[in-house]
């Protein structure tokens, strides 16, 4: 390390490197925290997924290789849970929150300031409420003697026991209600960035409002769409409290998404190892979705 016979460039380089290291030092606490509280649990989780750890019934934990994963891929209920998760995600996030958020954002630009504030406040209120509270509110709304059926009855429309006959639709609608604000905010910001000249030029060329929206606005906010989709998809894949409060995954597993099934397996059937393996599969599903969106984010089309 001494600098007796070193040539100048190398010395400069090592000094430079040392300086970078020292400058990086303030990052150390953050890195330690990240490793301890983010990477640590994930590594632990990966380890558990390959063991037969139980909550009760066995004192020792053994390494069982990929047994939990083979078990999962032979389990009908596991496929069922994946299917419910995909239905829930597509219905409530990709279609519901995303499109509704965009529509509200577009309409708000045309609305008066007062209306904009009222609608914004209402939509965001649903988002600010804690998940479990939102779950109970939606339970009260959809349940058999709930608000929705009262309204339907008042209008002389046929009533439904929503949580019993169509639980996955009920929880999806609840998630749309709760999560639309996020998409609305993202799109509100994105739309504000669309250059007015582009729209005006398109209008001069004779493009109608719909055409302008499709050919001008959408391409410009494409990245916001991909980012928004990625965020709400990942959020929705892991929704637990909302569904648990409304249906507990029932009846007869008709709203058992993967997070609910993971909970039931790990903490109610006491199979922690198996449940953790499922959680990892959920992680992979989230990663696959992200890959698709990241691809859409690539700049080559610009």
């Amino acid at each position: 390390m001494s600098s007796t016979v070193v040539d100048a460039p190398a010395g400069a380089r090592s000094a430079h490197r040392r300086r970078t290291l020292v400058r990086g030092l303030p990052l150390l606490p953050a890195i330690v925290l990240l490793l301890a509280f983010l990477a640590g649990p994930i590594a632990y989780c990966v380890y558990y997924a390959f063991t037969d750890m139980q909550l009760t019934g066995a004192a020792e934990t053994h390494f069982v290789g990929a047994a939990n994963f083979t078990k999962a891929f032979e389990d009908d209920r596991f496929y069922h849970a994946i299917w419910e998760t995909l239905v829930f995600t597509v219905l409530s996030a990709i279609v519901g929150q995303n499109i509704l958020g965009l529509v509200i954002a577009v309409l708000m630009r045309a609305a008066s300031a007062v209306l904009r504030q009222i609608v914004g406040a209402l939509v965001i209120a649903a988002w600010v409420v804690p998940e479990i509270v939102a779950g109970y509110l939606m339970y009260a709304f959809f349940r058999d003697e709930g608000t929705l059926n009262e309204i339907l009855g008042f209008l002389h429309l046929p009533q439904q026991n929503w949580l019993y006959t169509l639980p996955i639709l009920a929880v999806s609608l609840a998630n749309v209600w709760r999560g639309t604000a996020f998409s609305m905010l993202v799109y509100g910001a994105a739309l504000a960035e669309v250059p007015q000249e582009l729209n005006e030029a398109a209008a001069m060329d004779g493009a109608g409002a719909l055409q302008r929206f499709w050919h001008v606005t959408i391409p410009v906010i494409r990245r916001s769409i991909a980012t928004n989709l990625m965020l709400i998809t990942l959020q929705t894949l892991s929704v637990f409290g909302l569904i648990f409060a409304m249906t507990k995954g029932g009846p007869s597993n008709k709203s058992t998404t993967l997070p609910i099934y993971t909970y039931q397996t790990a903490l109610q059937n006491y199979e922690i190892g198996y449940g953790t393996a499922m959680a990892l599969v959920l992680l992979v599903i989230g990663a696959l979705f992200s890959l698709v969106y990241l691809k859409a984010l690539r700049p080559e089309a610009d």
Binding site: R23, K248, P251, Q268
Partner: protein, 456 residues
Amino acid sequence: MRFRSIAAASLAGAVALSTLAACGSSGESKNEITIAYQRNTNNNVRYMDNFLGTVKKQFEKSHPGKTVKLVPIQATENDYYTKLDLMMKSPRTAPDLAYEDTFLINSDIKAGFLQPIDSRVKTWSQWSKFFPTAKKSVTALDGKVYGVPDGTDTRGIWYDKRIFRKAGLPTTWQPKSWDDLLAAARQIKKKVPGVTPMNVYTGKANGEYAAMQGFEMLLYGTDDQLYNPQQKKWVVGSKGFRDSLQFYKTVYSTGLAPKPSAALDANIANNINLEWLPASKIGFTIDGSFTANNWLPTGGKPWKQWSKDLGWAAMPTQHGQAPGKTSMSGGWSWAITRQAKNPDLAWEFIKSMQTEKNAMAYDNASQNIAVRSDVAADPEYLKAAPTVKFFTDLVKYTHYRPAYAEYPKLSTAITEQQEAVTTGSSSPAQAAADYDKAVRDIVGAGHTTKVSGTKQ
């Protein structure tokens, strides 16, 4: 500049490390014991809290300088087990004393959560007062004792005489078979509209409560059972299992039982016992001997007239086959955890709970059946409720759950299939086949049999 950033970094690092270190140290004092127990999800039902509060006061007075910390876990039954097991898994959160359902105790023993107390009970003058069946319920497969039971129970039928009168049914009723139950329910449905004819518990949300009070009350009245004690194997493919599920299908698909959406609600037991029965909204329900604790002055819904308005009957066997009646028994116990910091003090607390006077106070408030000969003979216990003698006599017909370590998982498998039949998503035959598959997964195909054997 550089110095400042290094100083800041090392300061931040030191703070982070000391925080981590702080997580590791524990601050429990040697003079404190913690006690974990289930608190009812209904805020009016507090007999256990009141009982423990009283004993805590006595204990802290007679043991100066010692404190008792009660850790109520307010949850439904299954969530309670989950939370308790999570607590016991870590030395940092393990309570000294845990309230254990005897069906789960073997599973928890196998997991290494509890410590044997043989040497303690051996020198304890009160232990000889406990009935042998009660001692057996807290003795593990290794022959060691792991808990002190505080009561047992039997199960039967609670029926509303007011509704029976309106329906033209006898107000002194003892059904002889499942068909008698269905006939009575049908008559109530026809004659007393607006009333739920009957209830038999079902579904995952109700966990072990639905498996035991519901399914097993039916199954153990057939010629079959869950476990063959002679072969020491779990029973699959039995006719009794399918017939029991068929009973669920009949009552839930023909409107004799609560609407499936209500039946699958985790609060159904509280809804029935605290609301529907007092308000005369349900004909009859199959439930535990302890159900009356709700209507005593100490209960969640004090109800002066209950013993006049309600009747109680034994659960009949399927076709009335000998011995004609059936019941299921369980019970809870106090166990010292393996990770307990003050096991000796915890044992002292168990002894305080189990003075004759305290044991009786608890059995009376909870309407449990006494597990001690001295309490059972106490006139104050016998007159605490008019049902005590009736349900105590059912012990003759009772069955115990095969409380091996696998049982809690099988119990979940039962409730899953109950739910599938209740909602109509599976036929009884399909649900029975799904249960068999689950059993083979849980215990291994080599530990199953098609023969039920004789009941013990």
